[in-house]
Amino acid sequence: MSTSTQAPTPAGPDPAPRPAAAERGDSIGARALRAVLTQRITLLAVLIVVVVLSYVALDAGGYLTAPYDPDYLSASLINAVPLAMLALAELLVILSGRGGIDLSVGAIVALSGMVFGFMYGQWGWPLWLAVVATAGFGALCGALNGFLVAYIGFPALIATLATFYAFKSLAIVVNQQSPISTPPIQELYSLTRSVEIPVIGGQIPDVPLGIFTFLLPTVLIVWLLLARTTYGRRLYAVGTNDVASLWAGQPVRATRFGAYALAGLISGLVAVVTVAQFASARPDAGVSGNGMALPAITIAVLGGVAITGGIGRVAGVVLATLLIVWLNAGILLAFVGNEGSQYQLLALGVVLVAAALLNGFAGRRYGVAD
C-alpha cells in the first residue's frame, strides 16, 4: 500500500532548497541512487524487492528447504499483524516528541488480553462488546502513560518502563498465572485464518484474515489521522517543537496524552489479535522472550521514525514490517535447525544498524537533515 501523498512530513520528498544546477545535471541513475540513499521509504522498498528476489533466486537454485512462493509470503503475513500494529503505536508516541517511546505496549497486550479473556471467554460478553471494551481498556492503560508523560512530565522511557513492569506483573497475577482458553476463545482462531480475496482471489494466494479485520483498518485510520486530520497536524507540531506548538495556541499536553492513549488502544486491539491467533489469552503474551515492545520500536525506527520526534510516516512503518517479516520467513527456509532463529536476530540487527547508518551518512553527504 502506498501512503506517499502524506502532506505534512518532509521526511519523504525532501523540500529543502537544492541547487537547481546539481538537480538538472544529475543523470537519472544518480538521482535514483540519491533517492534510495536519502529516503527511507525508497530504501525500504528497494530492500524488499532485493530480499524477495534473492530468496526467489535461492529457491530456484534449490538452496531453500521449501518454496519461497507467494503462498508462503502471504501466510507469513500473519506475523505482520501484531508487529505492524504495535509499530504504528510506537510511531504515534515517538512522533509526539520529547523522547517519546512506549516500552509498555507488550505489557498492555498481555494485560488487556487477559481482560479480553475474562470478558469474552468467561463472562460471555458478546464479541463486539468485548473487543470494544478491550480496546478501551488498552486505551486506559495508555492513558496512564500519557498522563505521566504529558501532564506530570515524566520522561517517556521511564514512565513506560515503570508501567511495563506494573502491567506485566498484574497480567500474571490477575488470573493466578493461568491462561484463559475456554471454547469461545478457542473458536476465535477462525478470525485469523486465511481467506480468499473477492474478485481477484482466484489468482492470488489467500491472505490471513487479520490483515483485513485489524491491520488494514488500523493502517488506514492511523494514516488518515496523521496525514489528514487536525489531530495529526498537532501531533507533528508538538513532536517537532512543543514550545512553538504551545505558543501557537495548540493543546500540547492533550495532544501528547492522546498519542499514548491511542498507542494503548492499538495495543488493546493487538491483544484481541494475539488472543485469537493463539486461541488463548496468555498472561505472558507480549512480554515473553524479548517481548513485543522492543521489536515494535525497532520496526518503527527502521521505518524511518526519528527518535527525536516529529518525523515519521505510516508507509515507512508498513514497509519496514514487510521487509522484516519476509526476510525472517526466508531465513527459516534458508537455514536448517537452530541456526534459522539465530540468523533472524543477526538479520534484524544488521538491517537496523545499516539502514540507520546509511541514512545518516547519505543525509550528510547530500546535505539533507535525516
Binding site: 515524566f154 506483573s169 522492543l294 535447525g337 536476530l345 534484524l348 547508518l357
Partner: protein, 344 residues
Amino acid sequence: MTTTAPPTSPRPTRRARVLPPPIAGQELVLVAVIALMWVVLALTTPAFASAGSIQPLLVATAPIALAGIGMTIVIITGGIDVSVGGMMMVCAVVTAKALVAFELALPLALGLSVAVGGLLGLVNGLLIAYGRVHAIIITFGTMNVFLFVGLQIFASRTVNGIPSTLQFFGRGVAGRTLGVPHAFVLTLLIAAIAWWYLRHTAGGRHFYAIGGDAQAARLAGIDVRGRILAAYVVTGLLVGLASCFLIAQGTSSLDQSVGNGKELAVIAAVVIGGTSIMGGRGSVLGTVLGALLVQTVTSGVTQLGWPSQLSDLFVGIFIIVAVGADLLRERARRRRLRAKGAAA
C-alpha cells in the same frame, strides 16, 4: 590549552566550597527508603536481618549495580545502551567455555570476560560516536547481533561443569571474607572510583558537559567522540565483570537465558538512582542504591511469602515514585529560582 593558575590568587584563608554537595537529594531519599524497608522487613520476616539473607542480597545486587555504573555514565552523556543483556550473554558464554576448556585462573577469567565486554562496548562506541545515529537505535541493533553471537557460541548446548574458580564472587563461603561478600565490595570500590572520576577529573566532568550540550562541548574543545566511545567501552568492561558475577551466582552450568532482560533491569536501577535520562545529570551512587532497592523489593516479596510476580509491580511503582520525587524537586528548584529572581 592548560591555563596555569596565576600566582596572584591570595585567598588561602577559607576554602570555599567550589562544587555542588557530594550527595544529592535522590541518594539521601533512597538511603532512607532502603533503610525503612530493611527495618520493616526485619520486623515482619523471620530472617531478613540475618547475615544469611543480607549477604546473598548484596551479592545479587552486584551485577546489576556494576553494569549500572557503566549505564549511568552512558546516560549522563545523553545516550543509552539497551544491548547490555546481549553483551552479558556473550561475555558469560565465552568466559564459561574458557573456564571449562582451560581451567583458567581467576584473574585470567576476569581479564577475558572484561576484554570481551570491552570489545563489544567498543563496537557500540564506534558506531555511536562515528555513525552519528542515536544510541538507542544502534544498541537496539547491536543487541540482536550480540544475541546472535552469543547463541552461536553456545552452539545449542549449555556449558556444563564450570569450575568453581569464580566462586570468589559467589554467594557461598568462598565469596566472602569476614562475612563481607567480595562481589559487593568490588562493586562499591568501582562505584567509588567512578564517583571520584566523574566528580573530580576533567574527563569525568566532560561526560556531563556532553550530556548537557554535545555541540557546545565540541566547541569547548572536548573530545566528544572520544568521550562517548569511552563511555560505551567502560560499560562493556563493567558488563564483562558483571558477567563473571552472574556466572558465579548461577550454577555450575550456564544456559543461553543468561543476560535475558537485564538491560531493562539495569536501566531501572539507574533511573531509580536519580540519573536523568535526558543526560547531563546523574550519579553512580544513586545507581548502586537503585539496584539495591530493586533487589530488596524482590527478595522482600519472596521472604514475605507474597506472590513472587508482584515484585515487578512494586519495581514499577518505585520507578514512578523515585522519578516523580525528582521531578517535584526540580520543579521546586525552578520555583525557588523564580522567587529569587523576583527578590533581586
